[in-house]
């Protein structure tokens, strides 16, 4: 159900973002979506790719520090208040959203959520009537295009 995400440590200086992108490109790995969080000194690049295991291997072979984490994908109703209703589901369960970013490909407004307890969040959202997008479906949507 959950989406696997790669998190990479980057220093905040010119050329640092290109390095992992080049490694993934050379390994023939397709990046589906990404988000970059940064501070003055360093940044964390978060990626969702087609083959996370192969991506992790390729990056680690080049000395990049990689973490695997799990995200929840939600199709957010494309209407006013749509996101608010999804967030309500987290709030009711007392779960805080660490960060979120859009899944850039596909016909719908899909958001990826990183929460402290993905298991509990999954249950809480379905109880709230929010449907999660399984990883396989997300991948299938990208292939269909």
């Amino acid at each position: 159900m959950k989406i696997r995400q790669l998190s990479l440590f980057l220093e905040n200086r010119p050329g640092q973002l290109r390095v992992p992108c080049k490694i993934l490109g050379d390994a023939g790995i397709d990046v589906l979506t990404m988000s970059l969080a940064d501070t003055q000194q360093f940044g964390i690049l978060r990626l969702v790719v087609k083959d996370s295991e192969a991506a992790k291997k390729a990056l680690e072979a080049q000395g990049v520090v990689v973490n695997l984490t799990e995200l929840l994908a939600v199709d957010v109703p494309d209407r006013p208040g749509g996101l608010a209703s999804v967030l309500e589901g987290f709030e009711k369960a007392g779960l805080s959203v660490e960060y979120m970013y859009p899944f850039a490909r596909g016909p719908r407004a899909t958001l990826l959520f990183r929460v402290e307890d993905p298991e509990r969040a999954e249950k809480a959202l379905s109880q709230h009537g929010v449907q999660l997008v399984p990883a396989a479906e997300l991948l299938a949507r990208t292939a269909a295009r």
Binding site: Q5, S7, F9, L10, E11, Q16, A37, D38, T39, Q41, F42, I44, R46, E60, G63, V64, V65, V66, N67, T69, E98, Y99, R114
Partner: protein, 441 residues
């Protein structure tokens, strides 16, 4: 006797008399004192006695000054291993003062003084100030830190004994330093050279002058002739280098006279030798090597052949000032990886201890020293490992803060911690180059 003891720029004071002893008299005085200090060390300090006994040496082995070379060395680790009071030669009832400085493992090294030791210390500081042309009537702003560090109190007692007016302002608070300096008509200042350069920069920004300031006595860290030129041309003062270390007494082991061609060692209290740091053989005057010091009059904590790790050479040539005390060249480097930042001795191993405490395993790291606007900065660059990498900014910032606090806890000074990507720090074949000193010394 000198005719001009109280000539402000003559550099003389009644306490300075031993500075001008004929060499033969000085050497006789040294030999007498050396015999008693070796006797004291053998009788009262188990470590010294054991080391001498092992080599079948004792006070009787000292027939002339060259015989000192037979005695074993003392190193910083000996102070650490006998922490806190193991090298004291007098009972605590005779000790009137304790000081401490940073050691290699987070534990400081402790040094002790009897009343007589404090007097000797004051006297060498009086002689130091006098050699810089400071006398009664001068107003001395003492910006060395007061506390466990020997700099503050050492200079304070000397300045008072000299008869000068001392302002015990201690370190820090630059605005107040500049205000006092101008408003109180300060004529002499004591601080680290890097802090004085910081004062210069700040004074420039605030468009404040240095008023009546005439002389600076700078020490507790290495500095260079180009720094001296900068200080002198910016402020018009005369800048002197002072040398000392807690293990021997604190500041006042050596001083530059007005001619400033090396530092006169107060040889009637501190006996200098230069050794080859590899073979440990004593080298003749003029050769470069590691400075080894023996205290000749210290009671509470005599030091026999203490290896300072400071690299210099001894200049026996007569000095135009008339002092017969031999001079050492300014200290430029050390024979170990210790460095000094803001007056604090730092060993890379201390930083390792701090990093280990947070991460559990030792990450690759590098220490970068810089000097900005005259202030020394220490940055510790730490490679991020998969074990400590967090997917969240907050997590990494917490790690950074933890590392910073851990280092501050061990060193007692605040440093900048930077997280860097793996494999970005240089790896070396042999001994890792842990310290990059970019300070212009």
């Amino acid at each position: 006797m000198k005719s001009s003891w109280n000539d402000p720029d003559g550099g003389f004071h009644p306490a300075s008399a031993p500075d001008f002893l004929p060499r033969r008299e000085l050497e006789q005085l040294q030999l007498g004192r050396l015999r008693s200090v070796v006797g004291l060390a053998h009788e009262r300090v188990p470590l010294f006695r054991q080391r001498m006994d092992e080599r079948k040496l004792g006070p009787a082995s000292i027939r002339g000054l060259p015989d000192l070379a037979q005695l074993p060395f003392t190193v910083k680790a000996d102070l650490r291993d006998t922490y806190p009071f193991g090298l004291f030669a007098t009972p605590m009832s005779q000790v009137v003062r304790l000081h401490a400085s940073s050691g290699t493992t987070g534990k400081p090294i402790v040094v002790a003084y009897t009343e007589e030791d404090v007097q000797v210390w004051s006297s060498v500081m009086v002689r130091s100030f006098a050699a810089c042309g400071i006398s009664r009537g001068d107003i001395i702003q003492n910006a060395y830190g007061y506390g466990l560090f020997t700099g503050g109190l050492g200079a304070h007692y000397g300045a008072e004994a000299l008869g000068a007016t001392v302002i015990p302002i201690s370190g820090g608070n630059t605005e107040r330093q500049l205000m006092v300096l101008a408003d109180f008509g300060v004529t002499a200042i004591c601080c680290t050279p890097s802090y004085f350069i910081h004062l210069i920069e700040r004074a420039k920004e605030a468009k404040i002058g240095f008023g009546k300031l005439r002389v600076g006595v700078f020490g507790a860290e290495p500095w260079s002739d180009s720094m001296r030129e900068f200080i002198q041309s910016e402020t018009g003062i005369r800048a002197h280098d002072i040398y000392g270390l807690s293990e021997i007494i604190g500041p006042g082991v050596g001083i530059e006279c007005v001619h400033r061609r090396g530092l006169h060692i107060f040889e009637d209290h501190f006996y200098p030798e230069i050794i080859d740091p590899e073979t440990c053989q004593v080298l003749p005057d003029g050769s470069e090597g590691e400075l080894v010091l023996t205290t000749l009059s210290k009671q509470a904590m005599p030091m026999i052949r203490y290896r300072t790790r400071d690299i210099t050479s001894i200049d026996p040539e007569p000095c135009p000032c008339g002092r017969t005390l031999r001079r050492i060249r300014r200290i430029g480097r050390r024979s170990d990886d210790m460095f000094i930042i803001r007056g604090v001795n730092v060993f890379p191993s201390q930083v390792e201890t701090a990093l280990l405490a947070v991460e559990g395993t030792l990450p690759h790291y590098q220490i970068v020293l810089t000097r900005e606007k005259g202030l020394d900065e220490m940055e510790v660059q730490v490679e991020v490992t998969p074990q400590v990498f967090s997917d969240e900014i907050r997590g990494l910032q917490t790690l950074q803060e933890k590392l910073g606090r851990s280092i501050e806890h061990v060193l007692g000074i605040r440093v900048k911690v930077t997280l860097v990507a793996p494999r970005t720090l240089a790896r070396s074949e042999g001994k890792a180059k842990r310290v990059q000193d970019k300070r212009k010394v």
